[in-house]
């Protein structure tokens, strides 16, 4: 009783203070009411309880701005006090008065709750009158500078967060119960919705809102994430992207901001899923337990019934208490449900224009050069000043650290490229009716930014090939005794200064017979030629080669592996194929760590130094006189390992001659480019070096045979040879 008096007194004071819009006081009243209900529940008459519940409901509506009648609240409170007084005196209370107030408190409920329930409908009617007005609003409104800036920020921020959704979503498909993942998808939608609303981008706002609602349901466990839902969300992400890109265009051109992309179909679809969920409304924990075979469905539904009566209890608790499930089993189901791995650490990043970064790298290169020139300066070399040497060596350290840091800034983890494949594999598998699981390792392997961009296309091609041609249909797989789900694995790792990327599938492997047949048909090889396995496999890199029996949307159009090979080679990398008939194939891409540095052999030709990229070198040798043949019309040839390879002299291609006139006096470096082999005659191999590639400058772009320049350790300039160019030049002069 004492408790009740205290609470009622507090309540009365709060009610006196109460004004519409005074939210803190409303909060206090709600809290006092729940305390009152909680602590004095057993001494209160049912009619009082009803009153408190009704008042609570009214307060909540007041908080939401759906009700304003302060007077009614104070009436209700005084009524409660009257009840209390009559209780202390032991008198009967007049229930009619109370009922009347309850009625009044509930009275507006009909109207208000309808209003709040029908948010969806309201929005629909908004939309009906919306479009025209919308169009005018967004197109005709003059965008201020500030608006544009905000819009720009919004575009870049949201596009970024949308691309994270894509990846996390696929994570989610694998762990549909992981609330942390749902949350991290929910959040971007949520913010996009918030900001777009502010910027009056109605379509974006609406779509984001729908997705958010859907995810909210998933978050609270009302719906279970399945493929339909992830598909739907992915589709929404795509549409949102289009809308946002339209905004981006709109900012530039000044016309219609969101464009005329129709979001209605997708919004309707989401609503359908939504509605469906309301009908089913399943409870994941129970489901897990049933799936685990811990409890039966009936027991779960019984427990759920019980939970309704005692809402503070969890389903798990009820099940354990009833002895239907062991605590351990529930705990492990809960663990599965939660999948705690905690929040992912967010790293701080600064976005920098790549041009600035390139300039930085360039300048550091210049710094290194200037420093090495300084070190070799006569005045410094002949100096005996100890202090000068100390400073010089310090400078040396600083520049080399600086260079390393600058280089590392260009490096990005290959993760993003890999993750793009996730979506691709998923979509491909879906459209071809195959089941494919994509696993990856080494996503943190870092690779030059420019390489990453260039790598995307070839990777897409190879992954498509793996799924389309490699992996068999579930039926075919079953027939040969493989698990029905195919596997594609992406791996990245470092190996001796290279980055290796492997794409492995456990499909049917390359069909040697078919490749040979096809190659003969296309006259790529002669009918009787005997080839090694790897030579056969490499045939698929020939232009115009495609063995696909069926042309699908994505692969088998005849453009294919040759393009892949060429783009990898452009990155100064190479591709290898390993294949095990019936067990799958592996494509191995070797790439240099960075495009800014090239590993090469420094050779001397007369007074000049050239760099021959290591990647294209087969071997270097000092030929005997007997290995040399000169054939009329075919020029000079050197026999290297029983093969006659044409000799290329620098005087022919660059007008610079060797000191040695005959190959047996000098050295020959055998190189290969695109299947063509040739030997370069040089005076001396100076050494192997990793050099920073510098372009020749804009005025010298058309120089054939030279890929760029570099400055050697001794400060001399050397030209980096471009094998493609030399190949061309030498065949032209021959």
């Amino acid at each position: 009783m004492e408790q009740m008096r205290k609470h009622l007194e507090a309540l009365a004071l709060e009610a006196v203070d109460l004004e519409p819009e005074d939210i803190p006081t409303m909060g206090k009243i709600v809290n006092t009411l729940s305390e009152l209900q909680f602590e004095c529940g057993d001494i209160l008459k049912p009619v009082c309880k009803d009153m408190i519940v009704a008042l609570q409901g009214y307060m909540e509506r007041m908080i939401l701005g759906e009700a304003q009648d302060v007077k009614l609240v104070s009436d209700a409170v005084s009524c409660l006090q009257a009840v209390y007084r009559s209780m202390t005196r032991g008198e009967e209370i007049r229930e009619e008065d109370i009922k009347l107030i309850i009625l009044r408190l509930n009275g507006s409920e009909g109207a208000t709750s309808r209003a709040s329930c029908d948010i969806l409908k309201l929005e629909k009617s908004d939309e009906e009158e919306g479009p025209e007005e919308e169009g005018h609003n967004t197109t005709q409104r003059e965008l201020t500078k500030e608006d544009i800036e905000l819009l720009r920020d919004f575009v870049s921020e949201s596009l970024e967060s949308l691309s994270t959704i894509e990846v996390t979503l696929i994570d989610l498909e694998q762990n549909p119960e992981d609330s942390e993942i749902i949350n991290s998808i929910f959040r971007p939608f949520h913010t996009i919705k918030g900001v777009s609303g502010f910027l009056s981008l109605q379509k974006i706002n609406k779509l984001a809102h729908c997705c958010e609602n859907l995810l909210d349901k998933a978050r609270s466990g009302e719906i279970r994430i399945d493929e339909t839902i992830t598909d739907l969300i992915l589709e929404s992400v795509d549409t949102l992207k289009q809308l946002i890109e339209a905004v981006q265009k709109g900012i530039e051109t000044g016309v219609s901001l969101e464009g005329n992309i129709d979001i209605d179909p997708i919004v309707k679809q989401i609503e359908v899923v939504h509605a469906r969920s309301e009908q089913i409304g399943n409870k994941p924990l129970g489901e897990i337990l049933v799936e685990d075979g811990v409890v039966s469905k009936e027991e779960v539904s019984k427990a759920l019934e019980e939970q309704k009566r005692a809402p503070e209890k969890k389903v798990g608790e009820v099940l354990v208490e009833k002895g239907a499930a062991k605590a351990q089993a529930v705990a492990s189901a809960l663990r599965e449900q939660k999948k705690f791995g905690g929040g992912r650490g967010t790293e701080l990043h600064v976005k920098v224009d790549t041009k600035k970064l390139d300039t930085l790298v360039d300048m550091t290169g210049e710094l290194v050069i200037a420093q090495s020139m300084l070190r070799q300066n006569e005045a410094i070399v002949s100096s005996t000043d100890q202090k000068l040497f100390q400073t010089m060596s310090q400078l040396n350290q600083i520049t080399s650290t600086l260079q390393k840091v600058a280089m590392s800034m260009r490096m990005v983890p290959i993760r993003s490229t890999f993750q793009k494949m996730v979506r691709l594999v998923r979509d491909l598998a879906r459209s071809s009716g195959k089941q494919v699981q994509l696993t990856m390792s080494g996503e943190d392997t870092e690779i030059d930014r420019n390489v990453v961009d260039e790598l995307y296309e070839p990777m897409v091609h190879m992954v498509r090939n793996a799924v389309d041609h490699g992996i068999e249909t579930p039926e075919e797989r079953k027939a040969v005794g493989k698990p029905h789900e195919g596997k594609v694995e992406l791996r990245a790792y470092h190996q001796s200064g290279n980055i290796i990327i492997e794409i492995e599938d456990d499909g049917r492997g390359l069909d040697k017979e078919r490749i040979l047949e096809k190659a003969k048909e296309k006259n790529l090889i002669e009918a009787e030629s005997s080839l090694t396995d790897s030579e056969i496999y490499n045939l698929i890199f020939q232009p115009g080669f495609s063995t696909a029996k069926k042309v699908t949307e994505v692969s088998g159009r005849g453009v294919g592996m040759d393009v892949v090979k060429r783009s990898i080679e452009k990155l100064r990398g190479r591709v290898e194929i390993e294949s095990r008939p019936g067990r799958g194939s592996t494509f191995v891409i070797h790439l240099p760590l960075t495009l800014a540095i090239i590993e090469g052999m420094v050779v001397r030709v007369g007074e000049e130094r050239y760099i021959v990229p290591t990647l294209s070198i087969l071997e270097s040798l000092k030929p005997d006189r007997s290995k040399y043949t000169s054939v009329h019309g075919r020029g000079e040839l050197i026999k290297v390992r029983d093969k006659l390879i044409p000799l290329v002299r620098f005087e022919k291609v660059f007008d610079i001659s060797c000191d040695c006139k005959d190959p047996w006096d000098g050295l020959v470096v055998a190189v290969e480019y695109d299947g063509a082999q040739f030997c370069l005659l040089v005076d001396e191999v100076v050494g192997k070096e990793e050099v920073v590639i510098k372009s020749l400058g804009s005025s010298l772009i058309q120089v054939k045979g030279v890929a760029g320049g570099t400055i050697l350790g001794d400060g001399r300039v050397a030209l980096i040879l471009d094998m493609a160019g030399i190949c061309e030049l030498s065949s032209a002069s021959a």
């Binding site: 819009e21 005074d22 939210i23 803190p24 409303m26 909060g27 709600v30 809290n31 729940s34 909540e60 908080i63 939401l64 709040s116 500030e146 905000l150 920020d153 919004f154 921020e157 991290s184 929910f186 959040r187 949520h190 913010t191 919705k193 918030g194 900001v195 777009s196 609303g197 502010f198 009056s200 706002n205 809102h209 958010e212 929040g343 967010t346």
Partner: protein
């Protein structure tokens, strides 16, 4: 309203922070600082004398509601004006915030006028 007081804007989305900051500046507030989540906000609150907190609900690390609860359980911040700006427009959310002691709340999307009204309601 004391235009010199420091307002702390807490939101994980930088654009949203800028928007709110802009509105506050337009209203005449001179000192506005930012935090990207509840945790950061708490450390800011320890460092500086803050007159008003405007926080988003859904944020990584520490949500707005957790921030609010943390503040209300600390005697120094019991009365600190706290506006929740959120797109969590559902009833239950608003009521949870009010129960936790929010001073006022704004449902996104909102107009500068709404914020102004709410501020006037708080500071009179």
């Amino acid at each position: 309203m004391d235009m010199g007081m420091t307002v702390l804007v807490v939101d994980d989305f930088a654009t949203m922070r800028r928007i709110i900051k802009g509105v506050l500046k337009d209203l005449g507030f001179k000192n506005v600082i930012e935090a990207e989540n509840g945790k950061v906000a708490l450390s800011e609150l320890k460092k500086e004398e803050i007159g008003l907190v405007i926080a988003d609900w859904n944020m990584p690390e520490m949500t707005g509601i957790d921030l609010l609860k943390a503040l209300r359980s600390d005697d120094r911040f019991k009365e600190l004006p706290f506006i929740m700006v959120t797109a969590e427009g559902q009833k239950a959310n608003v009521i949870e915030a009010v129960k936790a002691g929010v001073t006022n709340y704004i449902v996104k999307p909102f107009t500068p006028d709404t914020l102004k009204q709410k501020l006037e309601a708080i500071f009179g």
